[in-house]
């Protein structure tokens, strides 16, 4: 199938016009942002650091959308300042609407997160309960991952971002992208 090798096709086309294309497929290595294991570790860190018990639930839980936003920022710590600004402008509807459309579009259209959540729910690591996410029957997967990453001081900037996010007010409007 020709479409499976778009790079090679493009190179052939360019070569036909006298160009000398230099193919380097290594540069097209997929980003680790699309790696399942990385995503699972980040979800585990978000859950461990932000899920909490409350008067309605004795098990730690977190809103699904909040989890989605937090993991999105954790993987992109340079956006912490952006969300802080967005949070600060939340009382000003017009300013808030203008604020960083890119960030809103980015996290709302992060479809891979939904797939990762489906996978973790299917594996029994997490469970969906209405709007919330709670630990599943095999929640040890999540807890072990987090403690291993912590023990080996992996993903420090993600953890630092998640700690910073604890001090930022994130409203339901923000979670809906408003």
């Amino acid at each position: 199938m020709e479409n499976d090798r778009p790079l090679e096709r493009l190179a052939t086309l360019l070569a036909a016009s006298g160009a000398q294309p230099d193919l380097n497929p290594g540069r097209l290595a997929p980003s680790t942002i699309y790696d399942l294991e990385y995503r699972v570790v980040v979800v585990a860190m978000v859950f461990q650091l932000h899920a909490a018990t409350d008067r309605f639930s004795s098990r730690p839980r977190i809103q699904g959308r909040r989890l989605k936003l937090l993991q999105f920022i954790a993987m992109r710590p340079w956006l912490v300042d952006v969300i802080r600004g967005w949070s600060a402008s939340r009382r000003d509807a017009q300013r808030s609407l203008d604020y960083e459309q890119g960030l809103r579009r980015g996290f709302i259209s992060d479809t891979m997160h939904e797939s990762v959540m489906d996978f973790l729910v299917a594996a029994g690591a997490l469970r969906r309960e209405e709007l919330f996410v709670i630990p599943g029957a095999k929640s040890s997967i999540i807890f072990d991952l987090h403690s291993e990453a912590e023990k080996r001081t992996l993903f420090r900037s993600e953890v630092a971002a998640l700690h910073e996010l604890k001090d930022i007010v994130i409203t339901n409007e923000m979670l809906e992208g408003w």
Binding site: G26, R27, L28, E37, W78, G136, F155
Partner: protein, 681 residues
Amino acid sequence: MIRIASIEIRGKSDRGDFIGRLEFAPGLQVISGPNGFGKTLAAESIAWCLNLETIFGRKESDPTFFPEAVLEELNLPDVKSVRVLSSEAQLTLERHDGERLELTRAITHDRERIRITRLGVKSGPSTLTLLTGSGTMADPTIGFQRYLFEWLGWPPKPATTFEGRDAFIYIENLAPLFYIEQQEGWTDIQARQVSRYAQQQIRELSVEYLLGALDAVDQRVARQRTATLENALRASAKLLADQAAQMFLKQGWAVDWSGNGSVREIEGRWSAQTLRQALARDAEIDIKKQRAIAVERVVALRRIVTTDPVDPANMSAGSSASQLVVDLKQRRHRINSELRTLHGQYSDNEHLFESLVHRIRSATDVHRLKTTGVGRLAHLECPTCHRELDTEEFDLTEQTGPEVEAHIEALKRDRVLTRQTMNALATVIRTTEAEMARLDGELHNAQRALEDVTASVGPVREQIVRAAANLAAQERFIEKLDETDASIEELQKAVDGWLAEAKAAHALGGTGTDVGDRVAVFTKALGQYLLALGHSAVVDRGVANLRLNGGQYEPYLGHRRLRALGSGSDPARLVGAYTLALAAAGVTLKGLHPGVVILDEPLQQNPDTRHLGLFLDFLSQDLAKNAKFQTLVFTFLNDDQVRKLRDSGTTVITVDGHLLGPVPPPPPEQARSTEKPEKAP
């Protein structure tokens, strides 16, 4: 070379005076006694008299490592729990020429002083009291450390701390190479030296010092000083470069005079051209020429203002002054807008760079995660149907280690590109800001001229005022040129001074030393002692591949660090061999090793009788018995072991009963002859 002649601990209790004394001969001696009989007290007293308490992890003059017997309460043979009123230790050292030194230091009171009695071979005894502490190394009048170094024939050698301060090589730095104390001394070679007084490379310096490689010590310290100096030089270069950038920017000249990079790089750039040459190269400015042109203009303008005829019909002065202001403002507006764009681009690239740094870090962690197996999600199954979950069904992918590596490489390439873009943008911003500064100056002059022209009445006056304004602007320009010229001169002097300092820093390190030959002797001795002590890795593989790694003197067997090889008790064997071999090499090479090795409780480092037997065998070998230095081994041997060692010709001193006991009464004739008995200390 010295030897320890005796150690004596004495004091007063509420039941009278007490005393304990051990005398030592040259060569190997094993001091054996059960636990609690005072062996360790004797070993620790030697350290105390040498001002070595810090190797027990205590502060200077802190005696709390001593047992209660010399501090508070003592059990005498007849009476238990006797209260100790005072105590002191006395160490007697004997030098190779026969001169003796008695070092007496109080344990309970007045611990910051050491009483010294020097017993010369030909001269009579002389006594003095000196202060203890490492600080006394710098004090040649009342410092104990300085005195001891001089008596031992050890030259004081300066060292550098990590903070760049001056220090010395102290006795505490050297002692862990010949005094192995029982707590942590056996865990690693020179383990207790780490960070003591924070001298740089003190482990290496101590080995070189004891081997007598003093030129190597000097060169190592010189290299450290060069490195410290280079840090300071880099900081001052940055400062000078900032000053130059500010000065040029003020004039609206974009000149690349960077203070970044290593000292060698900066030196290369700055010595290749002067500030004036850089100015001519980057901004095409020759101050002398500019000044000459400006002076010519001033002369011409003065002529216009004073003697040249003025055309009364010429009405253009006002409008041209106004037009100039308008033109300059438009140019300023355009450059300002360019600058905003450039700053925006720079800021975007900064964000991109930040995100790349983060992504590289994350991807590296993901790579660790995958290669170490932490967090692998292999074999996840559905909790209800127990079917293994297929990630493809969820549209998810797991990347392989090589894929992540390729991604990291790609990110690193992007980081380099982004850095290059940022550098290029910074250069353009600098040039544009310089242009802006120049334009601001011109606009300021033009506005002033316009104000003056507008205020004047009639075309003649307008023309004269315009010329006068231009004249004033030119004169100001000449003044600024002169100021800048002087600043460049001054800054160039500072740059020349910096270059001279950099050159001097490079000249600090010397060349040529015999340390290699000395280390070869040490390595050979180390191999002999490791084999004799039965180090399992060395016995199995032989000493052919034994080496001390370059410059750090860490033993390696082939490519493996010897510390990591062998059985659980082999590290202690390595410590023993290293210590004894250093003494043997130091004595052979006529280095600065004192010629004394103290091993406290070496047998405790062995887990079973087989390993313990290895050390006992060593003590009966010629290598240990016939060593040309004194070895004092404090340990506990049973009767069989004592007999066996004595049969093989090894000297064993047994401590039967506690070392400390009441002072025996003087013999009758001595008692009669002493009219005024000396007071107990």
